[in-house]
């Protein structure tokens, strides 16, 4: 486990992580500006009939209605309608064609954990019961486990002894034994490391070029309504 968590970030391509989205945004803005220029030149302007190399703004006609005061000094009941020719360019919200905000949020978490879980269990249990009872007329033996053979031999010896009348007698031996062993162990080890890194970039809205602003101002200030023919 590396103790220096900050070194985990040393291999990160931060330049690409931060710069790539910013470059993509600027490329997008450049593409927007180019498309916007083409849009203005092809849609909002048209070639002059007099000079083919000269562009004149495309005009669209609106009907303007306004109330007027008649000769009696009161507001006329029927509004006066006038024609007004407006450059098409002034209708389009050109300044909205830009990326307003760019936020790059990069978050990284390095986490390392190690866990060792070891369980040892040991259980052993044994029991022995041995009982040997010997009478002169009969012999009986019961044994379990290791003691069985030994006691069996004891019984056999007793039987052999029965063949000798002078040594015949009654005896009973009972042996109980038990052994139990239990063992359980557990080892657990865990470690975690956490580190975060966050980068935030914001790019504001691109301002409208001065040339376009000037053209829009000129157009706006020179819109004069003309009375309708009818």
């Amino acid at each position: 486990m590396n103790t220096n968590i900050a070194s985990q970030f040393s291999g990160l391509p931060m330049k690409a992580l931060i710069g790539a989205p910013l470059k993509a945004a600027t490329d997008a803005n450049a593409m927007i500006a180019n498309a916007q220029t083409q849009f203005l030149l092809t849609t909002c302007f048209e070639k002059s009939t007099d000079d083919n190399n000269q562009l004149v703004p495309t005009m669209v006609n609106f009907t303007l209605s306004r109330s007027v005061i008649d000769k009696n000094g009161s507001v006329s009941s029927s509004p006066v309608k006038m024609d007004i020719s407006i450059p098409l360019m002034t209708l389009i919200p050109i300044n909205s064609l830009a990326i307003e905000r760019l936020k790059v949020s990069f978050n990284m978490e390095v986490k390392s954990s190690r866990e060792i879980n070891k369980v040892d269990s040991f259980d052993q249990q044994g029991s022995n019961v041995s009982k040997v009872r010997k009478a002169p007329e009969r012999a009986r033996g019961r044994s379990q486990g290791r003691l069985h053979g030994r006691k069996q031999r004891t019984a056999q010896n007793a039987n052999e002894q029965l063949t000798k009348p002078s040594q015949a007698h009654e005896f009973e031996t009972e042996l109980h034994g038990s052994l139990a062993k239990s063992s359980q162990g557990e080892l657990q080890q865990s470690s975690a490391a956490h580190a975060s890194y966050e980068v935030t970039l914001e790019a504001g809205q691109l301002p409208l070029p001065n040339g376009i602003t000037t053209i829009l101002d000129i157009f706006s200030k020179n819109m004069m309504p003309l009375p309708s023919k009818n």
Partner: protein, 73 residues
Amino acid sequence: MSIKSKLDCPECNMPIYFESNLLLSGQSFSCSNPNCDVSIALTATDKDVVSNAFNKFEQIRNNATSQAGHHET
């Protein structure tokens, strides 16, 4: 998709707010100045020109937002 925009009032230079869909449908829009009773409406003869311009503008905006990886809904 409707585009919200504005133009300056020829009388008082206050903004006249409009939406492209309503403008193309022939609806009139009044000046935001309460003391100005001017209202304007697009003539039917120039409807196609304005509609074409708004469609191209919308297309440029969609291309830009898709390249930036962000779509406004």
